[in-house]
């Protein structure tokens, strides 16, 4: 299972969300590979789940990809709730 966190620049928000997702996975007792990238390099990386702010990940939605839209990127409860059904 690979989870790719996507943001506009791949520098700040995606890394902070990656930390939050890792904590959420720990609390769910689930294991997954979590990495982050920016919107322009995302097409070269394959993942099982693409996660990020709605503004960003909506641009990746091709009807096939599994997309998770996060409102509060620092919220462990929100991320747990949205990831749990997909793991």
């Amino acid at each position: 299972m690979k989870i790719l966190v996507v943001c506009g620049n791949g520098l700040g928000s995606s890394f902070m969300m990656e930390l939050t997702i890792k904590k959420a996975l720990l609390e769910l007792s689930k294991e997954a590979e979590v990495t982050h990238t920016d919107l322009t390099s995302v097409t070269s990386e394959k993942a099982d789940i693409y996660i990020g702010a709605g503004d960003i990940v909506d641009q990746l939605d091709n009807g096939v990809r599994k997309i998770v839209r996060v409102v509060n990127m620092m919220s462990i409860p929100e991320i747990k709730g949205k990831l749990a059904p997909l793991l």
């Binding site: 506009g8 620049n9 791949g10 520098l11 700040g12 902070m16 503004d55 620092m74 919220s75």
Partner: protein
């Protein structure tokens, strides 16, 4: 590391600003004055939000505007602006805390972001920072929250 970047010279508190673009300009002004960033970095942060939407509002009430190292960053730096009245980054995105991030590459700023995540993961800690009337208070709170897991 976060406390080395956010201190009395990079933390500001103000009552209100005209719009989110001004919030970014004011928040980034200490870094411009200290020559840590070039003026074009400020425009790049604004352009990035205009292009991608207000995704820099990572968590309610907090925005972390940033652009690329190549957009005019001279030295790894951060600055923080607390607003007494919110500025709207989007129709449902009121923001009280603006944290400018200026990174020089993809790695050296990561420890500061680990620390910042500790601060922002707890909504009550954000509210306590918004309640501050002086930069010293903001500094003390950040120090307390950023290091709590090591204690």
């Amino acid at each position: 590391m976060l406390t080395e970047l956010l201190h009395s010279e990079t933390i500001q508190i103000t009552n209100e600003v005209a719009n989110w673009q001004d919030a970014i300009r004011i928040a980034a002004s200490p870094l411009l004055q200290q020559n840590k960033i070039e003026k074009r970095y400020i425009q790049a942060m604004i352009d990035s939000i205009e292009q991608h939407g207000p995704y820099v509002v990572l968590t309610p009430k907090v925005a972390i505007p940033h652009a690329r190292p190549s957009d005019g960053v001279n030295e790894l730096s951060m600055s923080l602006l607390v607003l007494q009245k919110p500025v709207y980054f989007g129709p449902d995105k009121p923001v009280y805390v603006i944290i400018i991030l200026a990174a020089t590459d993809h790695t050296t700023h990561l420890q500061a972001l680990v620390d910042l995540t500790q601060v922002l993961q707890e909504p009550s800690q954000i509210d306590n920072i918004i309640g501050c009337k002086r930069a010293k208070c903001v500094m003390d709170k950040i120090k307390q929250y950023a290091t709590k897991e090591q204690l």
